[in-house]
């Protein structure tokens, strides 16, 4: 019997496909998410919109809070560590978190190195803005990728940019001759073997979710139609006027992303979505997506 293999790490992400992973900050919110049909929850002390507003250094959540959330639901529980902070990751693995997000939403602990994720039994998800970044994270051991988008903004534009770019880069690799792939690998700063694999598969070798700014059922369906395997919703649920309704509607929109009749139905009378932020109003050094490389 072997535990923590690549197949079981990557496999859990496969089981989450077509589903919605919701940020929660308490056991009560976790239960609301589970009842609405979330496939997993991300346990946090504050959602990204509040982290952005609060400023200062954002760190891993209190393990006691994460444990209370783990006790409250039967679905997988994820939690975030700072980029490069492998000790926070050791702590989360110790308490039995199901997935670790090495996340730009928290303040980076290392500006040069991400965590060597192969050293862990628990699987990791990492953010990426383009294919090169995604493949670097996979080479470090990430078993799942998500777009970075721009967290806590309720503005889907950056997630769209990142997903479109990744998909375009994958299509470009597919159209190349084999002897052109080494130059492509050099150009995007990605390991050659992974570049070859992507060219052959026509997709990432791991599951690829959309994250960062998704606030409505239509946003979720947009990302799915652009090729996402599933959806992370951060502030979009519990910063909306009616979290239960938003949670249910975004779950339905992620399954029925190609069905405008269902999308129209679930988009009705949801109340106010979370307030959004125009990306241009956020100074470049304040953009979370610029963290990591």
């Amino acid at each position: 019997m072997e535990k923590g293999t690549w197949t079981v790490k990557k496999g859990l992400a496969e089981m989450l496909k077509g589903g919605v992973i919701m940020d929660v900050t308490s056991p009560e919110e976790a239960r609301i998410a589970e009842e609405a049909g979330a496939v997993a929850v991300m346990a946090l002390e504050r959602v990204p919109a509040d982290i952005r507003a609060a400023g200062g250094v954002a760190r891993m959540a209190d393990p006691a809070l994460i444990l209370r959330i783990m006790d409250a639901v039967t679905i997988p529980v994820m939690a975030k560590v700072r980029i490069g902070h492998f000790v926070e990751a050791q702590i989360l693995e110790q308490i039995g978190v199901d997935y670790i997000d090495e996340s730009e939403v928290l303040t980076p602990a290392d500006e040069q190195h991400h965590i060597d994720k192969h050293q862990f039994k628990v699987p990791f998800v990492c953010g990426a803005r383009n294919l090169g970044e995604a493949l670097r994270r996979i080479a470090e051991g990430a078993a799942m990728i998500r777009t970075k988008g721009e967290p806590g903004t309720g503005n889907v534009v950056e997630a769209v940019r990142h997903m479109r770019l990744m998909m375009a880069e994958i299509r470009r690799l597919q159209s190349m001759r084999r002897d052109e792939l080494m130059a492509a690998a050099k150009e995007m700063g990605a390991p050659y073997e992974l570049v070859v694999q992507v060219a052959e598969l026509g997709r990432l070798p791991v599951v690829n979710f959309a994250a960062g700014g998704i606030a409505t059922p239509a946003d979720a369906a947009l990302m799915m139609q652009l090729g996402a395997d599933g959806i992370f919703v951060g502030s979009g649920i519990f910063k909306s006027e009616n979290p239960r309704a938003y949670a249910r509607a975004i779950v339905a929109a992620t399954t029925y992303y190609n069905d405008p009749a269902v999308l129209a139905e679930v988009s009705k009378e949801l109340g106010r979505a979370m307030p959004g932020l125009e990306i241009a109003t956020i100074a470049r050094e304040q953009r979370m997506q610029e963290r990591g490389w």
Binding site: G4, V8, E14, M15, K17, V122, T255
Partner: protein, 189 residues
């Protein structure tokens, strides 16, 4: 022959890839009308609570039960096993409840306890099957009409058949070995 793959959430693409590699046509099922004309149904791995909720909300529960009563073969993996079970320990969650089995959810622990193992499945021949268990359930009790096809060393039942229904706690769609899918198509259909 078209095999329906329930596509509400989870690893439905992998099941389709296995079947299509075997030369079997597949169809994703998200709505009741997509059940029409299928000759078997697969319920993939995923989160059983999320899939169960969508089965209810989008009106699939009753049509699937009716087709099952009319003889539709159904194969459930992992979450699919839970949805096929009549009894789920400690959970009132929605289910199809077609098999006389009792399912224990997340029965091996959290993700760090997920594992792969070489599993003896006598019905599939002598060569053991590489079985991948991810936050997997197992079957803790079976009714009289249920045939146990595989158990782990400690006696936990991980694969069982009841007439046209087949359930396994692991993920044959994540490995190259196609014997479980072939067994379903040959013996349950």
């Amino acid at each position: 022959m078209v095999v329906g793959v329930l596509a509400l959430q989870g690893a439905f693409r992998e099941h389709q890839q296995v079947l299509e590699a075997m030369g079997v046509k597949t169809r994703q099922v998200r709505k009741p009308e997509e059940l029409e004309g299928i000759s078997a149904l697969i319920i993939p791995g995923g989160e059983s609570t999320a899939i169960g909720k969508l089965l209810v909300d989008y009106g699939l529960m009753e049509p699937i039960r009716e087709m099952a009563a009319g003889g539709l073969p159904i194969f459930g993996t992992c979450a699919g096993l839970i949805l096929l079970a009549k009894e789920i320990t400690g959970s009132p969650q929605p289910r199809l409840g077609l098999m006389d089995i009792r399912a224990e959810r997340n029965a091996f622990g959290r993700q760090v306890e997920s594992f792969e193992v070489d599993l003896e499945v006598p019905a599939l021949g002598e060569k053991p099957l590489r079985a991948v268990f991810i936050r997997a359930p197992y079957i803790s009790a079976v009714g009289p009409g249920v045939e146990v096809l595989a158990s782990l060393g400690d006696g936990k039942i991980v694969m069982a058949r009841q007439g046209r229904y087949l359930a396994c706690a692991f993920h044959p769609e994540l490995t190259e070995d196609r014997r479980v899918h072939r067994y379903f198509l040959e013996h349950c259909s």
